[in-house]
Structure formats: C-alpha cells, structure tokens
Amino acid sequence: MQVFLQTLIGGVTFGAVYALVAMGFSIVYRTMGLVNFAHGSVVMIGAYAASTFYLATQLPFAVAIVVAIAVTGLIGLVIERFLRPLENKDFTLMLIGTIGFGAVLEAGAVLVWGATGHAVPSPVATGPIDVAGIRIPTYSLLVIAVAAAATGLLALFLQRTKLGAAMQAVAMDHQAATAVGIHVGRSNAMAFAIGAGLAALAGSLIGPMLYVNPTMGGTLGIKGFAAAMLGGFGSMPGAIVGGLAFGLLDSFAAGNFQEYSELVTFLVFALIVMIRPTGVFGEATVNRA
C-alpha cells in the first residue's frame, strides 16, 4: 500500500508536467490544426533556458521560469511564421515540417549547451513532508500547484477574455472567425506562443526532476503527445486527464518493470489507443479523409 501510494505521488507529479506538455500540444492543435512534433524540443529548450539562467544568475527560480517562457514564446512565433503557408492544408507535410524544426532545435541545443547536459539542483530546500509514512517531496507539491495554477489561468484566459474567445472561435471554424473580423494569423501566432510558453513551464519544472540534456525533448514530447491522445486530442480537459493518466501509467510501469518501463508504457499506450483512438474526451475525426 505504501509503495502504491508512493508511486501514485510520483505519477501525479510527472503527470502534472505531462499535462502541461499536452495542453501545449492541444492549444496549438485545436486553434490551427497543426500537430507540433517540435513541441518536445521546445520543452527541452525551456528546461535549458530556465536552468541555465537559474544557475548562472542566482535569481529566484520563478524569475528563471519567466525568462524561459519568454525565450520559447519567441521560438514558437518563429516556427508559426515559417509553417504558416501549410496551415489547414497538407497534414502530413506540416507534421514533417515540425519534425524538421524539432531537429533544428535539438541540434541548436547541442551547439549552445553541448551534448552532455547538466543536473539542476532542486529550488526548494526543505525536506520531504511525511504523511502517514509516505514521503511527499516538497518540490512535487510545488510542481502540482504551479501546473494547477497555470491550468486555471489558461481556462480563465480562454473563457473570460476577448482574445481567448477569439481563439476559441478560430478553433471552431477559422473561416467563420475570419468573417466576423478575427485576425486568424494573429490568433494562431498567439496560440503557438502560449503553447510554447506552456512547454517552457513544463521544461523548467521537470528540470530538477530529471537530467537536462538535448535529447530529453524527444521522449518528453512523445509522452506529452501520447497524453494528449489519451485524453482526446485538442480537448483541454482531456489534456489534463490524459497527462495524469499517462504519468501514472509511466510511474507504475517504472515501479513494476524497471528498465523495461518504456517498452511496457508504449505497448500499453498502443493498446489503449487502438481500443479507443479518440481518447477520453474524444475528437470527432480520427481518420481524416
């Protein structure tokens, strides 16, 4: 039982990060129909930016995160501008284009930071809290709290502000949105920047939990993507549920199958997706004709 609860806490912590990654995927996907395979690499850049700034300047971790968000937001805008000619057109091409961008970012990270990577000390100094024999790392609590706050803010933005409403409108029907005077290009750029910002947040948070290195983006991206799919692609609640579910799947696989956890995780994922391709909350069209 104790082991179970301990694994659960680890799973929820990672799940919160996957949920952030998945939300980043989803907000871009629903707004502009673009599946951003470079998203994982943006997460990696975010992790590097935050940790480098944090280690170099000794400023609070929160400030480092804000800097990272600004950096990746900019990268997001560049990617969006480049791929704009392909939007709402050829799905496969767009997908490959973003894979290309992912490779560029990864190679760029190797050139800037070197291939080896670095460890990030935990920004929270206090020891784990002991609750009925289960040790809850304080940093886990922080991660969960920040992820929850970010989710709340995003929901508020999408539902309560004019800009957010415009983005929702573009997501539903970009032609109709144009007709009522919404600047679709600007809205898309905004979605991309927000998605990249979420990626940076996820990357900054996961930095102290993992080892920051140039190839971390590949695995994180695929896991966040898988999380988005489990929840239902393009759905925001789906991203959260899928993220947590995938975090749990991941940490229980790690607990029971040790080094084969990745094998088990992806086999189970493939099975789940085959049974229910649209995920929990569902996207109407999986087989895009």
Partner: protein, 601 residues
C-alpha cells in the same frame, strides 16, 4: 529504348564504381546502399500509401538484431538466420501496422514512434540483445568461397539485392497495387467506394515496410557484423525521414537519390555533425514549405511555373458516345430497402425508410436539404451501418457490408462534393475504377511479375476506350484539380461507370453544371440505363428529375412522404408542404405543372 540505354549505363557505372574507390569510400557506398533500401521502404509506406510510419528504423533493427542473435546465440548459419530475420521483420511490420486499421496521420505517427522507442528500450536492456554494448561477433556471410568480409565484394551482393528491391518497388508503384495505394493515400473513402480493400491495403503497406526494413537490416548485419542500439535510434529515424522528404516521398527514385545524397553529405560532415544535424533540419523545413514533392518534384514544379507564365489553353469535353442498348431483362428488383433507420446520437437521419427500385429504372430521390438523401446513399453504399432495417441487392441481403464489398457487388456511386483523386491523372482515376482485382491478387507481384504487366496493359486499353466514350481524350493526362468543374463531374461519372456497375448511385450530379451540361448529363444517364444499369439519382434540379426519372421518391425529415411517377409526386400535398412550408395552401394541378415548367426553364 532511351530508357533501356539509361538503365544499362547506370548498371555499368554502378558495377564499375568500386574500381575507382578506396577502402573507406567503398564502405561509405555500402552504407549508402543500405539506407537507399530503407528509404525505398519508407517511400512505399509513407509516400505512396500515405501511412505515417515512424518505425521504419525499428524494422531495420529487427532485421539486423535477429540475424545477430540467431547467428551468435542459436548458432544458425548467416543465410538461414537471414531468412528468419526477414520473416520476423515482416511480422513486426504487420504488428506495428495493426493500429493503422484504427487511426491515421499524426495518431499513427505517434503510435509507431512509441513502438520504435519500445524496441530501442528492449534492445538496450535485454541480455540476449547484448544490452548497450550490442552484439559484436556476427560471422562473415559465406558465399561459395567468395570472401564477403571485403567491402568491395560485399558491394556486389548489396548491388544485386538493391537492384531487385528497386525493380520490385517500381513494379509495385507502376501497377494496379501502387495506384490503389496512392488512391488510398489521397482519399480512403473514395478508394473504398471503388472497391479497394482499405484494411488489407494498409497492412500491405506495412508488410512492404517490414520487408524492406528487414532486408536492409540483414545487409547491415552482414556488412558491419556488429549491432548496437544507437544505430536504430530516433536520430537515425529522423535522418531516414529527411532522406525521403528531400528526395521526394512519393517517387521511389527520388527516395533513392535522397538516401544516397544524404549518406554522402553525412560522411562529408562527420567532423561537424552538430551543424550537419542543424542543416538537415533546416533543409527539411525548407523542402516542406517550398518544394513539397522534394527533388523528384522539382522538374514538375518548374514546368508548372513556366506553363502558368505561358497561359494554358482551356480544356474541352468531347461528345459522349452512347452505350449499346441491351434488351431490358425481365422485371426484377435491383434494390430493396426495408424500414431503414439511421440514428446519429440523438438525431434520427432516416426514419423507417422503405423503397423498392426495379432493375433498369432511373429513380429520383428528392427532398429538402437535410432530409436524409445522402445518408440513404451512404447506407446503401456501405459508409454507414444502419441502426435498424435492411438493404437487399438483387434479392441478397447486403446491409452492414463495407464499401469495398459493395463495390465488388457492383454498386458504384458518385459524391455530392466530388471525390476525385487529385494527385492522380484522369486516366489513373479511371484505371482505378476498371481494376476489379482483389487485394489477394498481389501474390502475383513477387511470383509472376510479367502477368501483372500484361494485366496493366489490358487495363490501359480499356481505359482508352472509356476515355473515348466519355469524350475525355483531351484531358486524359491532366490532374483533375486543374480542370473545370463540369469536366470533373463527367470524370467522376466515367469513373463510376468504369466499375461496370449494376447499380449506380448519383449524388447531385447536376450541381454546378450549366444548362448544356445538364442536357448532356441527362443523355448520358439515359444511355447508362439503356445499357441495363439501374440508376438512383439525388438531385435538386427539379427540371432534370421530372424529365429524366421513371419514378421519384420524396424524403422529408428522414421519412418517405411520397413515391410515384414524377408528375404525381409533384402535386402531392405533403411534398408541396415540405418544399414550400405548410402555411401555403396546396396548389392545383395546373399551378404545379406551371411550377415544373418554371423549374425546367
């Protein structure tokens, strides 16, 4: 003739190449050939069949690792192990392809990528696969005393394998199978309606992928005689993808060129691999945005640019040559729909619809928008499985069959919004309709390739006839998207008739046609009926319906509200109410006829 000379020249050059290369250069050439075979496999699945397969490198790994494990652990000979490795890779291909039956595009991409990661995870941790160190002492493949540990001699083995693999891939792409795969890539719904067995075709694509991956893996094991996890990781998958995209994913030769070019570039930039990676990424992005068809598509793009500057001539339809009338068979029922109900969640699109269409009739189906006409077609042609009720074709129950099964039972249809394969020429669109073989016919590809070529020639002859009959000679080799709307409608009709159907479903065939074209359409449909085909036509052009149809069924809100000869139906009070709203008083017979005439004009 010119092509033969070119092929011979390429073969001779490839054969003589080792004489001009040093020891290391020949090794580079050997590796390039292996990547070329891999790229052909990826080109076939992704470029031709449109299946986003990011596990190609894993199939490559399965082939290489199987050889390594079987030779070192099980003590099998190299070639025995190779045969088993090829089988294993194909099995892996099939297993990886199973998700493709349920999902496509990015979903499939992420699942195959996940499975590829699972594979690398397994080989890095399994004792039998040598964990992170890999397996090193793979024996030299024996070959009648020829020493294949020499990169020079191994080059010839590879060259022969590559030539066969390339020839087979070209045979596949230029024959009925390749055409169906491309049709499936462009529009799997329309391909299904033409009789392509979509599930089987998707699996075929993955079998091909596994086959080429396995083949490359075996050669790799024989050449390097050492396997380790990093040779089959995601970075190499990206490299392979870059080769295929840069070369041109839908052209097999383009894939080969891309693979060879990038292998060489990679070798040249070995000292600056960080920048090289950056470069591949940028080139892929640029290619995707500016030259989506890769190197192979550049000549076509330039030509199109020049043509646009020159200004094209306007394509013209030729006259339709009517079918020979056959004496009408004794009256029997072609289609019987019984109490069909189709529900989408809460919405009832069809509510206990029953209708009987006798053979050799032209039946009109009319009704306001949203009355369930197209839903009825979708059920009859197998796109939807009805919630309740049944459909019988020539007295045989067919409800619940897939579109391709109905197409094989000679049901053809056209679509309201035109579903032509945009990237295939008009001729190829028709060839797809003419080709009535089943997918299992493909066993002939490896065993009797000349029969495949013979069959293809016969198909082309029949396509020529059809093009002639429908007056499409002038546009036969154009892409449908470049043609005016009216011509596209005619092409879709010709494609449906290519299936020599017994039941033809036309969904708003006159939409967007001008008066002359509508008259032409009526003439064609009559001729089709006279040739013994039963025709059901959904149409809003009441003039056409009234003059063409033998009987008209009116749907409103998913129910049949009237059924009978056109003149009777037009004055039926319920019909008038459905069209004009029930606040109107029912018109008299004369005013209805006037309305019909109005519509005719």
């Amino acid at each position: 003739m010119k092509r033969l000379v070119l092929i011979a020249a390429a073969a001779v050059a490839a054969w003589l190449l080792p004489y001009g290369l040093g020891g290391y250069a020949i090794h580079v050439a050997d590796v390039a050939i292996i990547f070329a075979i891999l790229a052909i496999g990826l080109g076939l699945t992704m470029g031709v069949a449109g299946q986003i397969n990011l596990a190609q490198v894993a199939f490559f790994g399965v082939g290489a690792y199987t050889v390594a494990i079987l030779t070192t652990e099980a003590g099998l000979g190299f070639w025995t192990a190779s045969v088993l490795a090829l089988l294993t890779a194909v099995v892996f291909g099939v297993l990886t392809g199973i998700p493709a039956l349920r999902m496509q595009s990015h979903y499939l991409g992420i699942v195959t990528l996940g499975l590829a990661l699972a594979f690398t995870n397994w080989v890095t941790n399994a004792h039998i696969a040598g964990r992170a160190e890999g397996i090193s002492d793979i024996p030299v493949p024996p070959m009648f005393g020829v020493d294949l540990s020499s990169g020079y001699l191994f080059y010839y083995v590879e060259l022969i394998v590559f030539a066969v693999a390339l020839a087979f891939a070209l045979l596949v792409t230029r024959s009925p199978l390749g055409r169906r795969l491309r049709a499936m890539r462009d529009d799997d719904l329309a391909a299904g309606a033409l009789g392509a067995e979509i599930p089987l075709l998707r699996m075929t694509a993955f079998v091909l992928s596994g086959l080429y991956g396995g083949l490359a893996g075996i050669l790799y094991a024989g050449l390097i005689r050492f396997v380790a996890p990093e040779s089959f990781n995601i970075a190499n998958m990206f490299l392979l993808l870059a080769m295929v995209i840069i070369g041109g994913r839908s052209s097999i030769l383009g894939c080969v060129v891309g693979a060879v070019a990038l292998s060489l570039v990679r070798e040249a930039l070995l000292d600056a691999s960080g920048y090289a990676q950056l470069g591949y990424g940028l080139v892929v992005v640029l290619v995707v945005v500016f030259a989506p068809q890769g190197l192979a598509g550049l000549p076509g793009q330039l030509q199109a640019l020049r043509r646009r500057r020159g200004g094209g001539s306007r394509a013209q339809l030729g006259p339709f040559r009517p079918y020979e009338a056959v004496p009408r068979a004794e009256e029997r029922v072609a289609l019987e729909v019984r109490e069909l109900t189709m529900r989408f969640k809460g919405l009832v699109a069809l509510d206990e619809v029953s209708l009987t269409v006798p053979a050799g009739q032209i039946r009109g189906i009319v009704g306001p928008n949203g009355s369930g006409k197209t839903t009825l077609f979708n059920v009859v042609s197998g796109f939807y499985t009805p919630s309740r009720g049944s459909v019988a074709l020539h007295g045989r129950e067919v409800s619940g069959l897939a579109p391709y099964q109905l197409a094989q039972r000679r049901v053809a249809r056209t679509f309201q919004n035109l579903r032509l394969f945009e990237d295939l020429s008009v001729r190829e669109n028709l060839l797809l309709g003419l080709d009535r073989t089943r997918t299992w016919w493909i066993w002939r590809y490896p065993s009797l390739p000349w029969k495949v070529l013979g069959y293809e020639r016969a198909l082309r002859a029949r396509a020529g006839e059809l093009i002639d009959r429908f007056g499409l000679a002038e546009v036969a080799d154009a892409e449908p998207r470049s043609l005016p709307y009216g011509i596209q409608r005619r092409i879709e009709l010709a494609r449906a008739m290519a299936m020599s159907p017994s039941l033809l479903l036309l969904d708003e065939p006159a939409a967007g046609l001008n008066g002359g074209e509508v008259r032409g359409l009526a003439e064609i449909v009559r001729s089709i009926r006279d040739a013994g085909v039963t025709v059901i036509i959904i149409e809003h052009n009441m003039g056409l319906v009234m003059s063409l149809c033998d009987q008209v069924t009116v749907l409103s809100s998913g129910r049949v509200i009237a059924d009978g000869p056109p003149a009777e139906v037009a004055v039926h009070p319920d019909v008038v109410a459905a069209y004009l709203g029930d606040s109107m008083a029912a018109p008299t017979e004369e005013s209805a006829e006037a309305a019909v005439e109005e519509a005719n004009r």
